[in-house]
Symmetry: C2
Amino acid sequence: MTFTLRCRPYTLELKHRFTLAHSSRTTTPTLLVELERDGIVGRGEAAMPPYLGETQDTARAFLTAIDLSVLDDPFAVARALATVDTLAPGNTAAKAAFDIALHDWLGQRLGQPHWRVLGLDRDATPATSFTLGIDDPDQLAERAADAARTFRALKIKLGGEHDRDAITAIRRATDVALRVDVNQGWRDREAALAELRWLADRGIELVEQPMPRDDREGTAWLRKRSPLPIFADEAVQRLADVAAAAGVYDGVNVKLMKCTGLREAHAMLVTARALGLRVMLGCMTETSCGIAAAAQLASLADVVDLDGALLVQNDPFEPMPFADGRVLPNELPGLGVMPRTR
Amino acid sequence: MTFTLRCRPYTLELKHRFTLAHSSRTTTPTLLVELERDGIVGRGEAAMPPYLGETQDTARAFLTAIDLSVLDDPFAVARALATVDTLAPGNTAAKAAFDIALHDWLGQRLGQPHWRVLGLDRDATPATSFTLGIDDPDQLAERAADAARTFRALKIKLGGEHDRDAITAIRRATDVALRVDVNQGWRDREAALAELRWLADRGIELVEQPMPRDDREGTAWLRKRSPLPIFADEAVQRLADVAAAAGVYDGVNVKLMKCTGLREAHAMLVTARALGLRVMLGCMTETSCGIAAAAQLASLADVVDLDGALLVQNDPFEPMPFADGRVLPNELPGLGVMPRTR
C-alpha cells in the first residue's frame, strides 16, 4: 500500500495590503498538499511569498516528482526527508509541505497530536505577535491600537521613509510590547546603532535582521553595542546556519517554510537553545495548516510570531485555538488541521 | 489513575574482571526501575560504576522521593523531566532510570518502538565496539583476537604501565578497528602528542579523553596537532557541555547515565551534529534495559560503544538483537525490554 499525493494551488487573500520596504501585495500564493494512505489524510502546505523564489508551479513540480516509495515505511522519517531534501537544492517550502503532511499523517496514525508525541508542554506556549506592514504613521497607530486589544505583542516592519514617526505614533497609541523587523534594511553600522538606541528608549523588545544577512562582521559589531537583542531571520534558513549565528546574533527566527519543515525546525530549536541563542518561531502568510504545524513546536520558542493565518481572509482551514494572545495547537491527532466547514 | 514506581537493587556480575587505570572490579551495582499505569509497565535502569558517586541507596532515595503527580499527563515529558531534574543536582543515573522507564511506558502506550516514534532509521545503526579493560599484553592480545571474531571494532583502555606493549601485541593478533580510551590519563601535552602519533601509526581510529577534562587549553592544543580524532567523555556530561566541546574536541561521547536519559541524549546528539562534532553513543556496564534505551538512538551516532550488557553474565533481560557487529533496537513497542525467561 503506497501513499497518494495531491496538490492544489490556492491564493491567499490578505485582509490588508501588506507592504515591506521593497514589495507590496494583497495576495500570497500557497500550495495545499495531501498525503493519503490507509484512509488517513495528512495535510501540508507550501506558502510562498513571491520574493523567495518558489512558485505554485515549482512546488508542484518538485512534489509530484517525488517517488513515494520513499514512504514505504512512513515512520522512517529521517531517511525519507533526507532523500527528499537531496532531490534538488532549495525548494524549501515544497519540502516543508511534504514534511508537514507526513507529520500530520503520522500523528493521526499514532492517535496523538504531534506536540504530545514530542513530549512538549502546550501550556508553555508564548503569546504570538501580530505583524503590521509598512503604512503611514497615523494608519499604523490606529491599527496598532486596534491590534493591542487582541494581541500581547506587535511586530512592526521598518524600512519605510517614516520609521521614527511610525514608532512615535504607535507608542502614543499603545504601550503593547513592540518588536521591530528591519529585513536587512540598514547598511551603516553607526547609523544602525543610533536607531537601536532610539528604539530602546521607546521600549522596543527586540530587533530582527537589522543588517544584510552577509554582513556578519557588521552585525557582530552592532550586537556588542546594542541595547536590544538582535535576531537573525534572513541569515538563518537551515539547521547548518544556526551554529554560525552564535556570537553574531542573540537569537534566530525559525520558520518551517525556509527550513523544510517540522523535523528540521525541531532540530534548529533544540540546537539554538543548547547554544544559548534565543529562538523566535515565525511564519509566512499561511493557512491554518502551516500555522497548525508551527504551533506544535511553539512551546520550545522564547518568542512566537505565528500570525500568518490571522492576516488571511480566505483561510480554507479551521483556525487554531487562540487564547490569551497565544496561538495554540489543538488536541486532535496529528497537526489538528480541519477543513473549514462553511 | 496515577503511576506506581518500583525499585530493585541488582548486582551485575562481570564476565571478566574490569580494570581501569585507577580501579578494578568484578561487579557493578544497578537499580532496576518500573513505572506502571493502565496495565503497562515501563522499565528503566540506573547503572552506577562506583567511581561516579551514585549508589543503589542514593538512586532509590532520589526516585522514591519523586511526587508521581508529575506524570499526571505522561506525555508532557519535557515538563516532567525538567521538574525531576530540579529536585536535586547530580543523580544523573537515577534521573536516567526515570526517563528510560517513562519512554518505555510511552512507546508501549503508542504501540511503537521509541526509535520509530523518533522517525529514526534503524538500518543506519553503526557497529558497536567491544571494550577490553587493562590487562597484560599477552592476555589482551588473546582476548582481542577472540573478540575480533564477533566485533568490528574494539575499545582499549590505556593508562596501564604497558600501553605500547599492549597495542603492539593486539596489533600483532588482529587488524580489527581499534579505539583507545585514555580516561584523562595523560598530563603532558607534548608526551600526549607523541603517543597519538605512535597510535596513529598503528591504525588506531580515535582517542577518547586523552587529557584531564578541565584542561581545555591543553586538549585544544593537542587536537590542532593530533593525527587522530579526539573525543570527549568525562568532559561532556550534559547538554550544556556540548557547545563548550566544539573547537576543543572532534567528537563527544554521549551516555544516558551521565546525561539523565533519552530525552537529553537525543538533544545532545542533535546539537553535536549541528555543531559539526562527531558523536559516540556509549554506555556503562548495564543490563539490556539500559542498552535497549541507548540502542533507540544509535542510528544518530557516528560511533557506537554499546557493549555494556555483553560484559555481564547475569543480565536479567533478553539481549538486544546483535547482527553484523551491531547492537540493534528490536521491533517491540517502547524500548523492547523483556525480562529474561530462564
